[in-house]
């Protein structure tokens, strides 16, 4: 690893030094291609974020792909019903690594106003590893832009080696997530225990 002081000194002399990790992460962070995929009203804000007024293109994330095979980022924008949840997980499985998930809005995080309903999944984090969660009902386009910048920050700081390396560089980790099936009253299983645990409440 090159010393930071030496690096800036070399830069003043017109020599640019970087590491492969930085270069790799720089490339990935600046072309995050989201999946064209909306579930409810949050998707309207997502569309607004990609249009001229808010201009998501400034951050390299404007290329919404209509196929999971070409997308890096899944923005879960809206209420995930239990009928839709297996399809969301299947779409995620079809995306190539490295891939990321943003849970946008109260419904995608926790079920939101439909939390006590019989038909709504109480947060997509029960089945998928969520990288960034945006609160709001719906969140403003600025919030989505902030979430994408947060994700970029996360990608830039990822280690390519060592115990914290991303999933796609770890051969021991399963690539696909189990798709839940429709049960008699609920999805089976109701959660992916590898991803999600009920939160501890201290009283």
């Amino acid at each position: 690893m090159i010393d930071e002081g030496l690096k800036s000194e070399l830069q003043k002399q017109g020599v640019y030094v970087t590491s492969l990790q930085e270069l790799y992460n720089w490339g990935r962070a600046n072309s995050v291609w989201p999946l064209t995929f909306g579930l409810a009203c949050c998707a309207i804000e997502m569309m607004a974020a990609s249009m001229s007024r808010f201009d998501l293109a400034r951050f390299g994330a404007e290329v919404f792909r209509p196929s999971p095979r070409q997308a890096d980022l899944m923005i879960v924008a809206g209420t995930v019903t239990k009928k839709m949840a297996p399809l969301v997980v299947r779409l995620y499985n079809q995306m190539p690594e490295p891939k990321y998930v943003i849970a946008m809005g109260a419904c995608a995080i926790s079920g939101g106003p439909f939390k006590q309903g019989y038909n709504v999944l109480k947060g997509i984090d029960r089945y998928l590893p969520v990288d960034v969660a945006i609160p709001g009902c719906p969140p403003r386009p600025e919030a989505l832009i902030h979430a994408i910048m947060t994700l970029q920050e996360k990608i830039r700081n990822q280690d390519l080696t060592g115990p914290n390396r991303p999933r796609h560089l770890n051969a021991d980790v399963e690539g696909e997530y189990p798709v839940p099936v429709y049960g008699k009253h609920d999805l089976e299983p109701p959660k992916n225990s590898e991803v999600w645990h009920p939160p501890m409440i201290k009283r």
């Binding site: 109480k122 115990p163 008699k184 009253h185 225990s193 645990h197 009920p198 501890m200």
Partner: protein
């Protein structure tokens, strides 16, 4: 448009042996409805659509109601003579209402620009006799809404071309909009629970949290 009484009497003269009731409505809007005998429902629907003065060609809305068995308390004012003086005394009467499912249709006429006429059909009970005639052959627009009522309330529409669940998945058992439906207990986390949610939360905090401890973050 004619009054509901006029329509009722015209239906009864056109279709003998048809039993119709006018359901009063005490709310400010005062929109009354026709309670139609399920056996003659299809004939009444066809009459309302084809009659030259009504031409109710548009079924704008179909919805369901679940009426479980219940004790209804009604207050009746009674005149009682107490010690030679006539007094008004309130008396409560308890009646047992049998449970049934109800389907409500809102009909309009696009051609004559009037409406709505509200029709109500009732099943015999909530358990096994939940059949009603489908009005989809009369108003095609009722198809998805009748499927929704079948899905959520369990009313079986005879004569419907494609009676399947529409909102819930096909493997789903039960009818979630009925009053006695017990929904799945899957919202453990609640920062400020109260009432029945508190009872549910207590169950989870004692069982789930002890058995499942979040593991250390690994690669």
């Amino acid at each position: 448009m004619e009054t509901l009484e006029q329509i009722k009497s015209r239906i009864e003269s056109a279709l003998p042996l048809t039993k119709l009731d006018i359901l009063p409505n005490e709310c400010p809007a005062g929109e009354r409805s026709l309670v139609v005998d399920a056996g003659r429902g299809l004939d009444v629907a066809r009459f309302l659509r084809d009659d030259a003065q009504l031409k109710l060609d548009y079924c704008s809305n179909v919805t369901g109601i679940d009426w479980p068995e219940a004790k209804i308390k009604t207050k009746v004012k009674k005149k009682v003579v107490v010690e030679g003086v006539e007094k008004e005394v309130e008396e409560t009467i308890e009646t047992l209402r049998s449970g049934h499912l109800e389907v409500v249709y809102h009909l309009y006429s696009m051609e004559l620009k009037h409406g709505p006429i509200v029709l109500r059909l009732r099943t015999e009970n909530r358990a096994d006799k939940t059949h009603l005639p489908s009005f989809t052959p009369v108003w095609r627009g009722a198809e998805f809404q009748e499927r929704e009522i079948y899905d959520l309330y369990g009313v079986i529409f005879d004569g419907h071309p494609d009676l399947r669940r529409i909102l819930m998945w096909d493997e789903f058992v039960g009818f979630p909009m009925r009053r006695d439906y017990v929904d799945p207990d899957d919202y453990e986390y609640e920062p400020t629970p109260h009432d029945e949610v508190l009872d549910k939360a207590k169950k989870h905090y004692s069982v789930e949290v002890k058995t499942e401890v979040k593991p250390e973050v690994k690669a």
